[in-house]
């Protein structure tokens, strides 16, 4: 059973292709954050969307990748976290048709991306010591086929 598609890459590229999300976070979508002080790092006031891999059920007989991710909507304040979350909600829940997204290996087929809960507010002390950078955390479920499609 060949696995061609990286489901996290498919999620990131699908999110980057969404006009609403790119309005909120520009191109700052990844599976880990790039906040820092060095050249090229994201500014500590920038919004971003991070998909942290968080497991998911595995069916060894099926080439479908049922992945769970913790979607983190970072922002300068909870208000900006919510601006990202609103775009994430629209992109995931309100556009529930199957979608094809170009990835490194070809085209990925994404069956659905669905938030499972409403957000929880956390503060990331690793990014901003003494108070933390706020982010909304949302468990997100996605189903993506392991094979590329035409």
């Amino acid at each position: 059973m060949t696995v061609e598609v990286d489901p996290y890459e498919a999620l990131i590229k699908l999110a980057l292709a969404d006009g609403g999300i790119s309005t909120a976070v520009s191109n700052r979508v990844d599976i880990w954050h790039h906040y820092g002080q060095d050249t090229g790092d994201w500014s500590l006031t920038d919004s971003s969307l991070i998909f942290v891999p968080a497991g998911g059920p595995m069916n060894p007989d099926d080439n479908v990748q049922d992945v769970l991710v913790e979607a983190r909507c970072y922002g300068d304040s909870p208000y900006y976290c919510n601006q990202v979350w609103k775009k994430l909600l629209d992109w995931s829940r309100n556009k529930n048709e199957r979608r094809v997204q170009a990835v490194t290996e070809g085209n990925a087929l994404i069956y659905f991306v669905l938030p499972l809960e409403h957000p929880r507010l956390f503060f990331d002390e690793d990014i901003r010591p003494n108070g933390g950078m706020p982010y909304f955390a949302i468990p997100l479920q996605a189903k993506i086929h392991g094979l590329t499609v035409t």
Binding site: N96, E97, R98, L109, H145, L147
Partner: protein
């Protein structure tokens, strides 16, 4: 048999419309016309059910079944609707669209739907597709392409109950039963499913 592709896994939900019985099916790449009433969002699972159990025949030479026939058949569509305008409820319950009567109550403008459904249910045509337009309708098993199902004549079978609660919104469970429409082509009396294939 052709290789199965990831597209054949039909994840997604249907949207439903009703129109006067025997209203023609719209083209796959066209939006439903104003004749079709959008029934709004559904909650929970949606079911398509092919009915018609087989009856086997045996002869004296064999303990096994030699032939099967299907003496009865039908096709049902089930979903729970939660957008409960009176116009939607009237159609789901098999009442004519004229069952919703405009009027006033005091200084307020009103619409009224009587509870009695009557002896003969109103027939409707049922349309279901993944989305109203091609871009959101990707239920074809051959690609990220549109698909739709159409039944020329359905009635609601059942006794729906809408449950109200502080933490929930009522839904009307509907079982649309296809009626055998003799005006359709042979084999299509219960309607059909059609999907873009190339």
């Amino acid at each position: 048999m052709a290789d199965q592709t990831p597209y054949a896994r039909l994840t997604g939900t249907w949207k439903f419309w009703l129109a006067a019985a025997q209203t023609a099916i719209p083209d796959l790449d066209a939006s439903p016309s104003g004749s079709w009433t959008d029934l709004g969002v559904t909650e929970g699972d949606q079911n398509l059910q092919w009915q018609g159990a087989l009856v086997p025949f045996r002869d004296n030479d064999s303990t096994g079944k030699k032939k099967h026939v299907r003496p009865e058949e039908g096709f049902d569509v089930m979903a729970t609707f939660v957008h409960l305008t009176l116009e939607t409820v009237a159609r789901i319950l098999g009442m004519p669209s004229s069952a919703v009567v405009g009027g006033t109550s005091g200084a307020l403008t009103t619409k009224k739907l009587a509870f009695r459904r009557g002896y003969v249910p109103t027939r409707y045509a049922l349309l279901a597709r993944g989305g109203a337009v091609v871009a959101t309708n990707t239920l074809s098993p051959y690609g990220a392409w549109p698909a739709q199902l159409w039944i020329p004549q359905v009635v609601l079978d059942g006794e729906p109950q809408a449950t109200f609660g502080k933490a929930g919104s009522p839904g009307v469970q509907a079982r649309f039963v296809a009626e055998y429409d003799t005006t359709q082509s042979a084999g299509e009396e219960f309607g059909y499913l059609i999907a873009q294939s190339a």
